[in-house]
């Protein structure tokens, strides 16, 4: 399957490049760690309630996504390799490859953030499985939202916080169910009650991926 081979080649290429220098990966990891420490310091002696802790966790995750996911396309522009990608691969393959890579990156970010939160800002946890599902769906949704927008921002070559400005409103329908599920994982942990939120997150991620597939070509081809 040529299409799949091309897509996986993009993923493998990005993975190889990031693992070779590890600068971007460790930078992102340190960003998450630094944010967690900042949160802990800002809370001083206080013990936040479950809703506040859930909100803080997801705010840290969203900000980490804004910082970390822009690299996928900006790096191509900086290295001057985007033209090579345009010549060798179809736009759908480039997008799918970058999406898979970003999804992997986001899964790493949410894992790190969640583990850090368990350590630094402990709140009761009744249903770890539900929390894991919320984190995974959230990570995928954030990757889906941010990948197209990061391509847009890279093409724009714009300075300043353009990616957060563009992506945060689009992330709201992921953020709200994710926080609800995180709170539920700490309190009651009922999977039946969680179902509408899980479906909502999945549906929204699906919508974003479909829209991105359709629109990516217009961003990619000058």
């Amino acid at each position: 399957m040529d299409w799949l081979a091309g897509t996986l080649a993009v993923v493998a290429n990005d993975a190889r490049l990031e693992l070779r220098t590890r600068v971007a990966l460790s930078g992102l990891g340190l960003f998450v760690a630094a944010s967690l420490v900042l949160v802990r310091v800002a809370l001083a002696q206080g013990q936040p309630s479950v809703p506040v802790a859930a909100a803080l966790l997801w705010v840290v995750v969203v900000f980490a996504s804004a910082v970390g996911l822009g690299r996928a396309f900006v790096a191509e522009e900086e290295r001057g390799t985007s033209l090579l990608l345009q010549l060798h691969l179809r736009p759908s393959q480039v997008y799918a490859g970058k999406l898979v890579f970003n999804a992997g990156l986001m899964l790493g970010v949410v894992t790190l953030a969640a583990l850090g939160f368990r350590l630094l800002v402990p709140v009761p946890l009744v249903a770890p499985g539900l929390l894991a599902a919320a984190l995974a769906l959230g990570a995928l949704g954030i990757a889906a939202a941010t990948t197209l927008l990061s391509a847009l921002v890279a093409r724009a070559r714009a300075a300043g916080p353009l990616l957060p400005v563009l992506s945060f409103p689009v992330l709201v329908p992921i953020l709200y169910p994710a926080v609800t599920l995180t709170i539920s994982a700490s309190m009651s942990g009922s999977w039946a009650e969680a179902q509408p939120d899980l479906v909502l997150m999945g549906a929204y991620a699906g919508l974003l991926v479909s829209a991105s597939f359709l629109l990516f070509e217009y961003v990619w081809r000058d």
Binding site: L148, L149, L152, R155, A156, A158, A159, G160, L162, V165, L166, F168, P169, V170, V172, P173, Y176, P177, P196, D197, L200, Y204, L207, L208, A211, S212, L215, Y218, V219, D222
Partner: protein, 256 residues
């Protein structure tokens, strides 16, 4: 004397607004004036807490309609721009987003004021955790992001293309933001959770016709603002293309 159509007319056709349009403008002005007079002077049922603030219905809700209409028109023209590449669609898309943003700001402000003097009477609160309020704020963030994106891009064709992509992407998420999410959240807002809204029994007879007229009137006003802006912008772009204020040594590029 009408000259023969050139290449610019395909790309940036000047909308021809004749007598019918001018009559429409007059009609819209008269309609809105009547609505405003009736809105402020007409009878409203004087319910506890709500009292005269019920008049806000004539302004708050139609703004929501204009916001939606503007966003859909903006997305439609963004799609047409990506399909055809004609600059006029980019101009129309931007004008629609502008009208949508103005309506959104008005909807938000009227909503905040309304809730402050009814739901939050005596509490001193300005911003409620009301889901629809938050969602309009998010919609305004999207509008703001659209204009920030446009401002950050210099090359006209790139600006048009990338902002069209963002417009379509963001409008695709609008049904989730403004329809699906608020239904999941607890809310006092009319129309949510079975609260009374627009059904026959809920809207007082006194107010019903003024409300319908207000909705139509504000949509007319919104459309008129939109067409005015489109015409002004197209005329400006055509003038620039024909006689650019360029420095003596630079090459004339109408759209790169």
């Amino acid at each position: 004397m009408r000259r023969s159509p050139g290449p610019m007319d395909r790309d940036l056709a000047l909308p021809r607004y004749g007598l019918l349009y001018r009559l429409f403008g007059v009609a819209a002005a008269v309609w809105i004036t009547v609505v405003l007079v009736l809105g402020f002077l007409g009878p409203v049922p004087n319910l506890p807490i709500l009292e005269q603030s019920a008049r806000n219905l004539y302004f708050h809700v139609p703004m929501w309609f204009v916001l939606y209409a503007g966003a859909i028109a903006g997305a439609w023209h963004a799609g047409r721009y990506l399909a055809t590449g004609r600059t006029v669609h980019d101009v129309r898309s931007e004008a629609a987003w502008m009208v949508s943003t103005v309506a959104g700001v008005t909807a938000l402000v009227t909503g905040v004021l309304w809730s402050r003097f009814t739901w939050y009477q005596g509490t001193g609160l300005w911003w409620s955790p009301e889901p629809r309020q938050n969602m309009v704020a998010v919609q305004l963030l999207i509008s703001g992001a659209y204009f920030v994106l446009r401002g950050s891009l210099d090359r006209p064709r790139q600006r048009a293309r990338l902002s069209a992509v963002y417009a379509l992407f963001a409008t695709a998420t609008m049904p989730f933001l403004t329809y699906v999410l608020p239904r999941r959240m607890a809310s006092l807002h009319p129309g949510a959770e079975g609260n009374p809204a627009f059904s026959q029994m809920d809207l007082a007879g006194d107010m019903r016709w003024v409300f319908y007229s207000a909705a139509v009137g504000f949509l007319m006003l919104g459309w008129w603002l939109y067409t005015q802006r489109v015409r002004a912008k197209v005329a400006e772009l055509r003038a620039e293309a024909l006689a650019p204020e360029a420095a003596p040594v630079s090459v004339v590029v109408s759209s790169s």
